[in-house]
Homo-oligomer: 498 residues x 2
């Protein structure tokens, strides 16, 4: 990455962003520690230390000199990578500077208050109580969206979504989700019909934690995780953290059920490999980061959905299960495959299978977009939720807020514009595997033999090495030869479930 | 701790030092992580992030506004604790500001070069090679001592030592070590004579790591370690790290020998309890920190030497050994006691028993003081080393630099003035236990029954709760009713070894 003598302003920017990268390193490691290692007595002191670091990071991102450097750097002689880096620096700078501090603070406070009360209100099915706090969160989120819209020239919801999926617009989502809605409800019904005849044997526990951990590590190794540059530990809420040079995965063990930890670890390994394989030469600068939430999710779902739940991969995992837990009929590959591809509409998004999951996302997208645009009010949510759940999954959530519109943490904190990324990730993943199969026609046969190199090579060339060189639509076009096309996701579900 | 409206300058200082406390929290946690958790691939990025944080901490401690606030805060109306805090802030400020940055940098570079080369030179017994780098380290250390002396009005070696033992002077050390030299060589000979008749049974391994860890945790619990505010993990070089609110101990396991890990963990637990019991209300300010290196070592040696190697404590540990490793003759309490109190003069300080250890420290103190004062040159070290080892321990190190003057890391990095703290710690510990026995005449009987409350209560009242309220000599006087008196250490050794 060039920072020639002829580009002194760009040079100043890269120096600041190198410093930010190091501050963020500290933040990532102490954050991982808080979740995976810290005893409860450390939490007050840690909160103070992390708040101090966050304030420092904020001061650095809002340094008044940045605006001038950004303006003049645009005129400097930069190569393509430096220019992409400058674009990403501007994105980050805008993100940090677009909103007045009073609004950021008010929204943080209102979000924290709403989120905190929500934990109890969800249990108590207390929609009325939730509304009292949530109206303020929504008001501030609309104000935020409006200011971001003024700043970017985008529509308000687009401006929110652009922070998670650069370049993707609500018009794209409408086109894609509109297509999905034409075939998904029918596919869900047919998949269930087909599965009604299947016999599925449940695995018999207990599955000791040490054996589960050894299994997870073996599968992570099979999936290419680099243990010289990362770790696997435990936390209540599993995540992929750390830094690209040292990725920290966590999982949670339940001795009665190894599947959740195993598939969760495979999911996080997908995130981890993206981070571990970002281009080394660009690390430290924004252009060297992972592209977006949706693209990140496409990597985790490539491993969890495309790979791990395939019949081929079940054949690879079966002997590992026998090795670590002893043999049992449930570990037969065909049975594992049936087990890991069950379709069952349910109320809860995070428990949903890959077929019904998009329905959960579509209904949230439609509601949150209307909320931000002012087409509906907070009071309208439950009725719309119930209506959409009926239409998409045939389930009623009337008067059941707990398992309906109160189930997610996102809105409580005012995180609007994020939900589409989950399903975009699933769709990108299907599109990536379609592209891989065009390039490697015997891909599935090779996966069945344990040869994952064609997958890794494709990811490396088209996703990992590209980091933030392009915005999301351009990355998708370059990687797969076309814009995001929901037909690949549909074809994947049809092939697997019909 | 007061920061009244009438003390605005003092208030500014406490705000800066609260910020520093939080930065140091981040530093402690990522430092622990580097030693106990980080995979090797993370080290370059971590080094950069830690260097950035160190630079930030340095900038904060050398903020030009501090000098003025310090001057004016002296005139403000402060209570005793605030005044002690102001004294400690001035100490820290002086430590950060007394030396020109060019000197600090030159010494860091020369020290790193010397230390790096020393690792190989020590193995190769290459004194000549070492000298080439060490002369520069010594030259810069003398310059440092001179500048610190000018700044504090102390003699050069005193100025160095004051950073580790506030208020302790070379004249005190001369008095104390002079006393020790009159009786120690004879005591070493007599202890060995007495032990020559004893039969000692060596424990038979292997001792599985999981069992050693469980044993360590049980003994830490017996010693009052608070696991809701700390952890025990593993690292190559065991240490006590983290922050007072969240203390991170590490140990190293060898399946052939549980003793080193067990006694090492007990040692670190002594450090840990000091940190865990610093006064909560003062945490975040310098007055709330542990007093000094020597006082800290007195806490670890109180547990390792005074408690753990006593006959009473061996009686407490014996059943735990049987529980975790199964019964064997070596675990009989009298045998454990003989095993853990063997006296044998040797070349290596870190392997020395508590009787011969002071000899190692005395010889280093005499040489390093003469080096700093310019009474000798680096070339004179080996002859003096050999002469002192002969006089104190009856061992020759002629031409054996590897096991002589090349064995320690301290001087390679220019850390002069630190060695006395080790033996001061042992002496304080003996003096503390003498004071405890005056207050609790049946102390040993109570320890034998597993009742350690009188020990903990005394430590809490006289050491832990006092933090940095007094300088070291005043703390010693208040805690034990007299200045440091080597007779307590002598009496302890006589009672245990003669």
């Amino acid at each position: 990455m060039s920072s020639p003598a002829s580009a002194p302003n760009y040079g100043e920017l890269t120096r600041i962003y190198t410093r930010l990268y190091r501050y963020n390193h500290l933040s990532a490691i102490v954050g991982w520690d808080r979740n995976a290692m810290m005893p409860p007595g450390g939490s007050a002191a840690r909160a103070a230390a992390e708040a101090e670091l966050n304030a420092l990071i904020h001061r650095t991102r809002t340094d008044p000199r940045l605006a001038g450097w950004l303006r003049t750097a645009e005129q400097e002689n930069l190569d393509d990578i430096a220019r992409a880096n400058l674009r990403e620096i501007r994105r980050d700078w805008r993100d940090a500077n677009a909103l007045p501090e009073a609004l950021v603070e008010a929204k943080t406070l209102a979000g924290a208050k709403c989120e905190h009360a929500w934990r109890g209100q969800r249990q108590a099915n207390d929609w009325k109580g939730f509304l009292e706090n949530f109206r303020e969160v929504l008001r501030l989120s609309r104000e935020e969206a409006k200011l971001l819209a003024d700043d970017t020239g985008l529509a308000p919801y687009d401006a929110l979504m652009d922070r998670f999926e650069p370049g993707v617009r609500a018009a794209d989502i409408d086109r894609i989700f509109g297509d999905v809605k034409t075939w998904l409800p029918d596919l869900i019904v047919k998949a269930q019909e087909k599965q009604r005849k299947e016999q599925v044997i449940a695995p018999k526990g207990p599955f000791p934690v040490a054996a589960q951990r050894a299994l997870n590590i073996e599968v992570m190794t099979l999936l290419g995780f680099d243990f010289t540059a990362g770790r696997l530990d435990e936390s209540t809420h599993p995540f992929s953290g750390g830094v690209p040079e040292d990725v920290r995965l966590t999982t949670r063990y339940n001795e009665g059920d190894f599947t959740r930890s195993l598939l969760g670890t495979i999911h996080e390994t997908g995130h981890a490999r993206y981070e571990q394989n970002l281009p080394r030469a660009w690390l430290g600068q924004p252009v060297g980061m992972a592209r977006s939430y949706g693209v990140h999710e496409s990597q985790s779902l490539s491993y969890e959905m495309q790979l791990a739940r395939s019949r081929q991969f079940c054949g690879l995992i079966a002997p590992l299960l026998c090795k670590h837990f002893g043999e049992q009929p449930a570990f037969e590959p065909d049975n594992l495959y049936r087990l890991w591809t069950r379709v069952k509409p349910g109320y809860i998004r995070v428990d949903a299978d890959e077929v019904t999951y998009p329905a959960h996302v579509i209904l949230r997208y439609e509601i949150e977009r209307a909320l931000i645009e002012g087409a509906i009010e907070a009071d309208d949510i439950p009725a719309l939720w119930n209506e959409n759940m009926q239409a998409l999954l045939g389930l009623s959530t009337r008067d059941n807020y707990k398992d309906g519109c109160l189930q997610d943490v996102h809105w409580t904190e005012g995180a609007f514009g994020y939900f589409p990324s989950y399903t975009l990730g699933a769709m990108y993943a299907a599109q990536w595997f379609a592209a891989m199969r065009r390039r490697t026609p015997d891909l599935d046969a090779r996966i069945a033999k344990g040869d994952l190199k064609p997958v890794f090579d494709w990811q490396s060339k088209h996703i990992w090495s590209q980091a933030c060189l392009w915005d999301t639509p351009a990355l998708v076009q370059r990687a797969s030869g076309e814009a995001l096309n929901p037909k690949h996701f549909q074809a994947h579900l049809q092939a697997r479930y019909l």
